[in-house]
Amino acid sequence: MGIEIEKIRGLFPVLHQEVHGKPLIYFDNAATTQKPQAVLDALTNYYEKDNSNIHRGAHALADRATRYFEEARETIQHFINARESAEVIFTKGTTESINLVASTFGRKFIEKGDEIIISTLEHHSNIVPWQMLCEEKGAILKIIPINDAGEILFDEFEKLLSAKTKLVSIVHASNALGTINPVKKVIAAAHAVGAKVLLDGAQSTSHLTIDVQDLDCDFMAFSAHKLYGPTGLGVLYGKREVLESMPPYQGGGEMIKEVTFEKTTYNEIPFKFEAGTPNIGDVIAFKAAIDFINQIGKETIKAHEDELLSYASEQLSQIKGFFPVGTAAEKVSVLSFNINAMHPYDVGMMLDANGIAVRTGHHCTQPLMKRLGLEGTVRASFSVYNSKSEIEKLAEGVSRIARIKNK
């Protein structure tokens, strides 16, 4: 069954507004998605009716809040098909999830001369934590090269693998180009040399069906706000045995079993990694976001987004001066492009004047842009609530802008 676009759009209050006198067309979904009414309601309901600190509260509100909080954890467990909900750790976002692994797994298991492999496609959040760790430990960061289409060179990746490889941290779907990496193959090859694998799922979780058991990744990091949920909340999935082998992340309440001034023992996972009062309201609202996705179905969403992507590529390719950036065979619904002789900032601003929200610049992937010989791109990214008629408006806008310099 296809998407009933008007019905879905009706669930997103923010979409129904004008920007600079034009109806808003929101194509910045890879940066953050909009939130359906159910998520907004879950947030206000929590603060209106259930607000309370969770775990160990001896009263009805604390009990309700704890139940909803842990139900959300279970919903996320099923969403990514983790073995158990204890493998789902709440963080501030993908960036914190990656930093958590760098500072705990990294602190314990990475030693001088060890190697960590990432790819050219990485977001800065999957580069800098590893650079910091490598600098501290005297470890070495290796980079998987890509071809001009924006696909990793798997043969070159295999050459980088050795007994020294301790961790491969790779993006599942590129935020800048949309490339879907062959992560199952990457994970199997990394495991063959005894390395652990972290997947940056910030982009992939909203577009692809995720099965962490089938993928067999050791960690997966993602953010709620790119999945129709609230900002400031993310998840780190980790295999139980790996999480148990790691030292805690931050010290504080919630993460302890027993504290004495002589010695503290730590709580079980996931609490060991969740020091302090968590982001309760947003976790509960995140469940509403996942429920929204499940109601439509990932397959249906993907089919709709794929259709939008191919329609956009077809429409925009006809424009003189347009060139796509990132033409991988497997892509999520991200269309990065440039207009000949025009700076992406200028294109983005002209589109904004038409009510069309896109992102411009290096998309926090400066090494990737350098590899492609570009300062940046214009990025239009499509979501469940976008329509073909919006893409036609984008094509009209880009066409008018391109004519300034491409007569």
């Binding site: 600079h20 006198g21 700076h343 900032y345 200028d346 601003m349 904004d352 004047a353 038409n354 610049g361």
Partner: protein, 143 residues
Amino acid sequence: MSSIQEVQDEIVSEFEILGDDKESTIYYIMELGGSLEEFPDQERIEENTIKGCQSKVWLIADEKDGKVHFQADSNTDITKGLISLLLRVLNYRSPEEIIKAELDFVERIGMGSIIGSQRSNGFASMIKQIKLYALAIQTKQNA
């Protein structure tokens, strides 16, 4: 030569003609960039860039007959247009005039809502750098 205030008034009335249509306003700003004088290639270096701008902006200044002569360039057309507006008001004036100049046209044309808050910060950095150059030249003149 018109006074700083007269030039600013001119700019304000040009933008009033454009009205509320954001697209035409941006087109207009982009076109203004074309009026900048040719920027010397050898000056397109890191030391001449303005910090705090998202896009690259190069700005240099020298003294001509006691006045300050600015040259500027950018890799984006909108930014070029923005600098050309500033230079239209402030180029070839005495250091003292530049330092004292109150650039009320920025607010009067609603620059903040035209270019957004991030670019507005960059625009403020340009003004600051222009004034710093003027101050440096004034110091040299008084030495």
